[in-house]
Amino acid sequence: MELSDWQLVEKSQAGDADAFQELVSRYHQKVFMVILGLMRNREDALEVAQETFFRAFRKIKSFQGGSSFYTWIYRIAVNNSIDAQRKQKRNPLDFHESMDGLFEARNEVAKDPFADVQDRELRENMSKAINELTPEHKAVIVLRTIEGMSYKDIGEILGCSEGTVMSRLHYARKKLQDKLSAFL
């Protein structure tokens, strides 16, 4: 039977490294996606994702279950990303070939959703528009879009009220719509 997150947390707190490894395997991809959405650079996002789980390991004993493990780990991830963005030097979405070994090969058979020219232009403009959002606006957009999180969970992660989440989402979407008005 598969153990719940909370059971794995308790085992990790008791020093069971395999339990912690299982938690990492459950969340590493989603945490990486959220961080990439915020950092906009794969190399930086990978580094911050690994640091996030390292810090989570160091703090796991202080995790008391007041929130779910997933909001807790995203909170660490978002805070690390915001800190790292202040020091970030690389350009958004730069890709280094030395990182090939860390990612699964792309499925070439899968259809590129942005295959035709106009869609590709939309993707490029959307990517640029996301880059230009403030870290706070990026965070609500990414958590809502990738994870489909409720405003309550997003508020818990960002340390703000549901009303603030609603307001930030409204303004972030408005900014994106303004920049992409030619396509949408």
Binding site: Q50, K61, S62, R173
Partner: protein, 176 residues
Amino acid sequence: MSPCETIQESLGPWLDGELRGADGEAVRSHVASCADCAAARGRLEKLQLTLGTVLSTEAPQLKFAPFWREVERRIEAKRPWHEQLIEWCQSTLSAPRLAWAVPAAIMLVLGLLSFAKWPVGGQADNYASVESIDAHGRNVALLRDDKTKTTIIWLYQNPEGENENVEEAAKSGPAF
């Protein structure tokens, strides 16, 4: 604000499933009968769909083994002494402990001073007291020295380990 503007402000929360009951119904019935708001809904849905596709296609699938190896390397790495010292200080000298240690130290000093002033056998009506109240998540330690009519009020927050950095993150930017 016109009814359409009000409805269009609520389209996002409505599509996100955050508007229930009468509020959700008001948006639904207006959108069903208003071409402008129906178009705004379409634009917002397209934006959300494009966002989802862009964010998910940008992220490659990570290989778990090398990812975990790096996390494990960090866990096992011997950290420099200054990092260990900082961590020890953070865990040992946590705010709640410090909050008690400081008034206790002040009380000790006051006690020693009163002994210095009145040697053994002197007046005994000089004392200090510590109280604690916990209201709205804020703790208060109250320290009184009746002889000198001095009162020290020590306010402190009791942050849980799991909420670390949240306040800092919340402070880092405006609400929107």
